[in-house]
């Protein structure tokens, strides 16, 4: 049997991706586990952070970019840990230099370190500056539809509302807001942050998200590589369910087997 369904690619800033699951590279035991989990996830877009090089480190110490080669993956440098627009812009410029002119970035500007909730004022400021400088900005934001609309108006190439707090695994706390954001958006919407398990990822896709970005849900699972495989299937299943269109909900039962012809009829 041939495939019954061939999805459209996910298109972001001129890139085309078959996979709608984007993954991070943090919190893994080592780079081998990172590489195995990414392979099992089927992700084509992989995020990473930019940090000061440890100047005492051994020469020849393994490098993340060896485990996740830029030739094989679309790398998505993030601005995690930035609390101001200025720091986020500097970080993106360093990432662009690190990756020889690569323009696609994940912007996140955080409000405080206990919630890691986005500071949308600084996020808007940074987005405007980065876009003016030629970056393609995928933006992590709150699930506020008005802020999402404003970020799109500024020219962000993907809107990435949180499902719940980064690293919390609480899933999608406000599916209604995510749906409002999706309904108005003219660019891809991806849930970024909060996914805890496969059903959360499927739910994001059933709501109509264009993709899902996660890190902790895979890296902090008891078996990260197995969870990566589960997430791949969940994103595909949720996407197909969204496109197929769920059945209407009913108040009463509706038998699947016909009543006519029953032997007790």
């Amino acid at each position: 049997m041939t495939d019954i369904f061939q999805d459209q690619p996910l298109q972001i800033a001129g890139y085309r991706f078959a996979s709608r699951l984007l993954v991070g590279t943090g919190k893994y035991k080592d780079f081998d586990e990172t590489a195995e989990a990414i392979a099992a996830s089927g992700a084509e877009v992989v995020t990473f952070a930019v940090r000061r090089t440890n100047l005492g480190q051994e020469v020849g110490e393994p490098n993340l970019l060896d485990a996740v080669p830029p030739e094989r993956f679309t790398l998505l440098p993030n601005t995690a840990g930035c609390y101001t627009a200025k720091d986020a812009v500097r970080t993106c410029k360093l990432a662009r230099e690190l990756l020889d002119g690569h323009r696609l970035v994940k912007l996140e500007v955080l409000g405080d370190d206990s919630t890691l909730y986005p500071n949308v004022v600084e996020t808007l400021k940074a987005a405007e500056e980065l876009i003016a400088d030629g970056f393609d900005v995928m933006v992590y934001t709150s699930d506020d539809p008005i802020v999402a609309r404003e970020l799109e108006r500024l020219g962000c190439c993907a809107i990435m509302p949180l499902g719940s707090l980064i690293g919390s695994g609480h899933g999608i706390q406000n599916p209604h807001n995510i749906r409002l954001i999706i309904e108005q958006a003219g660019v891809p919407v991806l849930v970024d942050a909060g996914i805890g398990t496969a059903s959360d990822a499927a739910m994001a896709m059933e709501l109509g998200c264009d993709g899902v970005l996660m890190n902790s849900a895979i890296a902090h699972a008891r078996q990260p590589v197995l969870m990566a495989s589960a997430m791949k299937k969940a994103v595909e299943a949720g996407r197909e369910a969204f496109l197929a269109g769920r059945m209407p909900r009913r108040q009463s039962a509706d038998p699947s087997s016909p009543f006519a012809g029953r032997i007790n009829g």
Partner: protein
């Protein structure tokens, strides 16, 4: 001369280029990016840009993150 390197003071020979600093640190050929006083120093300029007293240099690389 003294510069601030990744937030820490560091004593260096005067007039070092960025490329020489990278070599001194054993980082030649590594995937890194360099910022000098909050401006990027492109790889193409590592050989020509010289450091001065009080410069603030950041050397960064990619690490795991989400």
């Amino acid at each position: 001369m003294q510069i601030q390197l990744n937030g820490e003071p560091r004593d260096l020979a005067a007039d070092l280029t960025v490329a020489e600093l990278i070599a001194t640190l054993g980082l030649s050929g590594r995937r890194i990016a360099v910022e000098l006083n909050e401006d990027i120093v492109p790889k193409s300029a590592h050989e020509s840009v010289r450091l001065s007293e009080g410069d603030r240099v950041e050397i960064v690389h990619a690490i795991g993150g989400g």
